[in-house]
Symmetry: C2
């Protein structure tokens, strides 16, 4: 019931298309790290959203394959550049590009992935190109804005939950949203239908990110494919740490715990234990469940094909352990 087995044929089609899309005549110093990254399996959540959002309106999934490749390449770019900034050593279980090569190479690879993503996008049906490129370009700006907020939070004392939600709605949810919108536009959905799928993508993206924050503390490292606790290490503000502070400030706990509690709990293990005891983990788990539920409720308003596939993506993500 996981995404990979549920969508095996489609994911293989995306992987095949992606690898074939890379020009083998690229300079080896660019080609090698790009292939290294693309050959590493991933869940292909965003391209699946694009394809099924296209198929939803009766159009052949193949018409959205270049756009699906585009959203995956876009996502890959964000990972490569984020890993440099976050100083992460592992990605999908393998050394990150800036570790295996160097930061300069990782910068270039990310840039090239943006270029390749737009190149793929331009292979979309010509009559849809205008709106599709607009959605995609806006997403790129918003994702950078989200990343900028995330980075600024590292040195900001009083980040609110609202600010955090704005950050992840840009950094993570926007590309989920854009992936659905682009598929729906190519598929030929009307404005209302596009808006519903857009809302579905956004809500799913928010659920996914907060779940990700949670997994950073509680996941099995070997399955996650990266170090557990890397958010903690970087003093990242996450939904968990903010909820924890909020709890300290608004309950009687505030008498017992200082405002700088998170900094005090230096060990990841100690912090994980504390947030479990205090019920923060449970509270965040419930919130994530509600968001996943909300995303599938949104789909109820649609009468389209591939609805069960979109529904099943949300359900599979809800159950993921890594």
């Amino acid at each position: 019931m996981d995404i990979l087995s549920n969508n095996k044929t489609v994911i293989e089609r995306i992987n095949q298309y992606l690898l074939n899309s890379i020009d083998p005549n690229m300079p080896p110093s660019l080609l090698k790290p790009i292939r290294y990254f693309l050959e590493n399996p991933s869940k292909k959540i965003r391209p699946l959203l694009t394809l099924y959002s296209c198929g939803a309106f009766g159009r052949n999934l193949d018409d959205a394959i270049p756009a699906a490749a585009a959203v995956e390449l876009f996502h890959d770019f964000t990972l490569v550049h984020d890993d440099i900034m976050d100083k992460d050593d592992l990605r999908r279980g393998k050394p990150t590009i800036h570790v295996k090569w160097d930061s300069g190479t990782a910068i270039m690879v990310g840039d090239a992935l943006i270029g390749l993503s737009f190149q793929e996008l331009t292979k979309s049906p010509p009559e849809k190109l205008g709106p599709v490129v607009k959605i995609f370009s806006e997403a790129l700006v918003k994702v950078c804005e989200g990343q900028a907020m995330d980075k600024a939070f590292e040195t900001t004392e009083n980040v609110t939950i609202a600010e955090y939600m704005e950050m992840i709605s840009k950094k993570t949810a926007w590309l989920f949203k854009a992936s659905c919108e682009i598929g729906a536009v190519i598929g030929g959905g009307n404005d209302e239908e596009i808006a519903i799928l857009s809302d579905f993508g956004k809500t799913l993206g928010l659920a996914f990110q907060i779940q990700d924050d949670l997994l950073d503390f509680v996941a099995d490292e070997s399955k996650l494919g990266k170090k557990v606790g890397s958010d903690f290490k970087m003093d990242k503000k996450t939904y968990i740490t903010l909820k924890y502070r909020e709890m300290l400030e608004t309950t009687s706990q505030s008498e017992n715990y200082s405002e700088h509690e998170v900094e005090d709990l230096k060990s990841l293990e100690e912090f994980s234990k504390r947030i479990t005891e205090l019920g923060v983990v449970k509270m965040v788990e419930n919130y994530v469940d509600n968001l996943f539920q909300k995303s599938t409720d949104i789909l109820d308003n649609l009468k389209v094909a591939y609805k069960s596939d979109l529904y099943s993506i949300a359900k599979s993500l809800e159950r993921r352990q890594f």
Copy 2:
């Protein structure tokens, strides 16, 4: 007779448009460095090429203003990321973004500039959007390929002049070419006319880059706005160093100078003196002159408006000292 005074009104129009194009509600950690960069005056060569290539076919320059902004933002992105990789401290006379802020900020700013550039591009006349986005996306990939080659050359012993020319045709000349092509497409030129302007842009870009290599050795630092000799410092392969080696290898000089001559001449001053004495500087100057001449000869094949403005850009660049 320089570009700034020749094109004062148009450059002011571009500057105004560019500054207004930046959403003031962006997160301050992104907005501040972007404004810092954009407020610094530049020659606006590429947007001028786009505007005049559009005007060439009788279309209002204003129709190409978003595309002109796009090519400038694209260029700015390359500068911001290149400066990180090249460890350059100064750009246009001011501290580079990765120095004034940090590398993470500079990576994000570059990424955001790509997003903003595509956003501007999508404001081009809708009927031209398809070809224009294709040219622009391809340029982004090619520029990254050029950058990758340039970086790889730093650790490659025997780079040929042909390889070097391929590198700069991607890293520098491609955006000159694309700037002209995009303008010509928006302007409504036919295929032959677009090809001529494309060829003009490419040749001008090659001339510009080799002249740039030359200026890195001989320019007045205060005018150049960055450190003289930064290519030398980074062991960059440039047209100058390659010509120098070629000369050592193919003339009787090879008896007197080792293959590792460039490494041996540790001081920039010593090297500058040597390449002047050997006639390398003169030889490269002549080659640059020929390329500029070739670019204006290409224009002779066109009977269009704004030809004198395009011609004058080439002539102004030919005479630049920084």
